[in-house]
Symmetry: C2
Subunit: 114 residues, 2 copies
DNA sequence: GCCGTAGTACGACGGATATCGTACTAGCGT
DNA sequence: ACGCTAGTACGATATCCGTCGTACTACGGC
């Protein structure tokens, strides 16, 4: 039997009003995390393992947590996977143009022409 | 006597092409440095001591160096003072809209209504 | 020449960060 | 029930970062 709990494993997300500019900038100041954000900007949602970071699983978990705790991404469990997506609306409301500028800069200067 | 050297004390600035997005984002991810950048965005030029960071002189020097080495500001010696200014054109060329978005976000959310 | 002011250099120190490996838990499929 | 896959937790470690104080250098004025 089971009481069908809707959210077994819950994840801490900062409220929109708690998101701080410095934290977001810090979260974005790492190549691996920029890569994740850029990836998520393309599709809507992705599992952690689908994004290749060339680091160990624990390190990957760490980077996703930094992004989540800074308020950059939102994560939910779906089956055995943990899906991540950008908090685009929240970020655009709080810091208009910031995400777009970072993404554009990243594409222009960090992706060496695919 | 003196051979009148044009630049006694020289300061290392990254070339425009060497400025990296991660470094800029990291440089901007500290409240004290954001404060400096915001201050410099107002006037054109300022000496280090004119911007009150509420930290010791050495710490202040450190923050200015981080900003300079990331390519965010340019510094020159003028007499006993060291003047700093934003590398606005370089940044706008490399990362269009980024500085503006950060400054706007800072004013909106980090300056508690002066 | 001497002093004051502006900033640097250096070393220390505590706290955060990036990284890893290993051992663990949660769901899914068979 | 069993095992596979996805991700977590935890501890270790090395490095970086923000901060400070003290001792130093550079320039300008008296």
């Amino acid at each position: 039997m089971s009481s069908a709990p809707p959210q077994l494993r819950t994840l801490d997300h900062p409220d929109s009003a708690e998101i701080r500019l410095e934290d977001v900038l810090h979260a974005l100041s790492d190549p691996a995390r920029l890569h994740v954000v850029h990836y998520l900007a393309g599709g809507g949602e992705a599992s952690c393992s689908e994004i290749d970071l060339a680091v160990s699983k624990s390190t990957s978990t760490h980077h996703f947590r930094v992004l989540r705790e800074a308020g950059v991404i939102r994560q939910v469990y779906r089956g055995t996977a943990k899906m991540s997506c950008l908090r685009r609306e929240d970020l655009d409301t709080l810091f208009p143009g910031l995400l777009e500028a970072v993404l554009r800069a990243y594409e222009t200067r960090c992706v060496p022409r695919a």
